[in-house]
């Protein structure tokens, strides 16, 4: 039995909690890359939060507004899929909402920000850093993390937004892109604010028991390497430096051009999406930084059959065989409509791969 299977079965078993609690502090002191190397087989951490909601028969809105409900949803999915880490649902509208953006949470679709309230530097200066204990959905997510870490002794992965992604919700994505050239002062002022918000919220998640932070910075994919370093990477590095737990930095889409700059943030892991050539990326990443990815969430996991998922997962695993610093996963968040048998096919293929 591989070490990760021992950690997983102990971590999911209530009766073995004292043993799990004894293990956790040791794990906390090693880098993610060391953990991954010691695992004994490839680890698999799918971003399956929305798929878990669909499976539970509850709505997205019910889960995102109620920390206890989301915990129950995730608890079932962790047991059902025998996951080796307990991750929350990724929701990048929590911070924007707490900062004053109106947010729409449909029953069966991903939530989104309806309006972007910031249009001037005065608007930025009027913003206040929300208190994670007071903002309702920050509180709900913190509650989920607290309940997860009380129930399981698995590495709890909690998600937060990256500073540029939050900034882009506050001013609008096209504006944020344009302003990196035309309104640099406004953007830097806004990003200093966003850095404070991200740090304070993620700290609250860590205080609630998060062992690993998955920082989602999808909007940064549209930036050149230099612009990324100036407007996202340097602020991300500030957030990471202020946290006592390892951070996995996720950028959606084709972030292949940003890999070196992402490594420079101090992130212990990079989570990359399907358009990135992962083995080529692995050649550019130091062995003490973990790569996470990158099965296509749409063409494979949503549209494919379980057989196709298995063969594409195997191809991915074979292509990453030379790299010890690798964790198998979907390239991005699994869609709400992903067939559960496809999630199982991916997880089982990874688990059986030697």
């Amino acid at each position: 039995m591989a070490l990760i299977d021992v950690i997983g079965s102990v971590g999911r078993d209530r009766r073995l909690r004292p043993l799990g609690l004894a293990l956790m502090p040791a794990l906390r002191h090693i880098r993610l890359s060391t953990m991954v190397r010691l695992a004994g087989r490839r680890m698999c951490i799918p971003s399956a939060g929305y798929a878990a909601i669909a499976l539970s028969g509850t709505t997205i809105g019910e889960n995102l507004r109620d920390g206890r409900r989301m915990f129950s949803t995730l608890e079932s999915a962790i047991s059902e899929f025998r996951l080796e880490a307990d991750g929350t649902v990724s929701d990048l509208t929590i911070e924007p909402e707490a900062c004053g953006c109106p947010v729409e949470i449909p029953d069966d679709s991903t939530p989104y920000v309806r309006e972007h309230p910031v249009s001037s530097i005065e608007d930025v200066r009027a913003l206040e850093v929300p208190d994670p204990a007071a903002a309702p959905r920050m509180r709900a997510m913190t509650e989920t993390v607290r309940l997860l870490s009380k129930r399981f002794t698995l590495p709890t992965v909690a998600g937060g937004s990256g500073p540029f992604t939050l900034a882009a919700e506050l001013v609008g994505a096209s504006e944020a892109a344009l302003y990196t050239i035309t309104e640099k002062d406004l953007m830097h002022e806004l990003l200093r604010y966003c850095t404070r918000v991200c740090t304070s919220y993620i700290r609250a998640l860590v205080d609630a028991g998060a062992e690993v932070v998955l920082m989602g910075e999808p909007t940064a994919a549209i930036l050149s390497p230099d612009t990324y370093s100036e407007f996202s990477g340097s602020y991300t590095a500030e957030v990471i430096a202020a946290l006592p737990r390892p951070v996995i930095l996720h950028i959606c889409g084709d972030a292949g051009h940003l890999i070196e700059a992402m490594c420079a943030t101090g992130a212990q892991g990079l989570s990359l999406d399907a358009p990135v050539d992962l083995p080529a990326a692995a050649e550019r990443v130091p062995r003490d930084i973990v790569l996470v990815g990158n099965l296509d969430t749409v063409s494979v996991l949503l549209e494919g059959t379980p057989g196709e998922v298995r063969s594409r997962t195997l191809e991915m695993l074979e292509s990453m065989r030379p790299y010890p610093n690798y964790v198998a996963s979907s390239g991005c968040d699994l869609s709400y409509n992903t067939p559960p048998e496809n999630v199982v096919a991916m997880i089982e293929t990874v688990r059986e791969f030697r």
Binding site: P106, A177, L223, S299, S335
Partner: protein, 220 residues
């Protein structure tokens, strides 16, 4: 001699216009456009040999990853500023665009960047583009087709909004417009397989691919 120096300065002006668009130089593009018109250049020439050539350079650089979204946006803004001067003149002289496209992000999805970049690159390729915005309902796409758009472009980044694209195709069939309009889809939530499944005409992988696809469909 005099004639030759005029030609040279016309070429120089077009060169400066191209450089201003490529650099996204909003401060000088308006003045340059007016000077080109005063120098006797036709609006259509400024459009074809200035803006369209410049935007094709921008598109190439985007494809080669020398330019990214912010650079494309500032170039597009400069192009727009010049176009706003040229447009009334182009209309007066009855210059026909290569074709007309109505483009939007479908209902339930507010992502605008990718769709805006596609709209700009299509405009830069000489097409008349109506940008319907984000969160666009089925009826607005149908209305755009009814108003004469030759191509309907739909974008989605959220897989949960994919059914809206199928609804648009069905609605176009329902009102008898499906045969007169081409439907192209794009965005991270969709694939060529999905385009085929819902009966769209094509899938555009990225902005430059979208231009190729739309031009091909208009020629067909």
């Amino acid at each position: 001699m005099e004639g030759r120096s005029t030609v040279a300065s016309e070429q120089e002006l077009l060169e400066e216009i191209r450089a201003a668009v490529i650099a996204g130089d909003l401060a000088s593009i308006g003045g340059l456009t007016s000077r080109a018109l005063e120098a006797g250049l036709a609006a259509a020439t400024v459009m074809d040999d200035g803006l369209i050539l410049a935007m094709s350079v921008v598109g190439d650089r985007f494809e080669k990853k020398e330019y990214f979204v912010p650079e494309v946006l500032v170039s597009a803004r400069a192009m727009d500023a010049s176009l706003s001067i040229l447009r009334p003149l182009l209309e007066e002289s009855n210059v026909e665009p290569l074709g007309s496209v109505a483009i939007g992000t479908v209902k339930g999805d507010l992502h605008d960047i990718g769709k805006n970049v596609v709209a700009m690159v299509l405009t830069g390729a000489g097409l008349a583009v109506e940008n319907l915005g984000t969160d666009v309902p089925v009826s607005a796409f149908v209305e755009a087709a009814r108003a004469g758009a030759q191509v309907i472009g739909m974008s989605s980044l959220l897989t949960t909004t994919r059914p809206v694209m199928a609804d648009v195709v069905r609605a176009l069939e329902g009102v008898g417009l499906r045969d007169t309009v081409k439907v192209v889809i794009g965005g991270a939530a969709v694939t060529a397989r999905f385009a085929e499944e819902i009966g769209a005409d094509a899938f555009g992988k990225n902005a430059t691919d979208a231009v190729r696809v739309v031009k091909r469909l208009l020629e067909a």
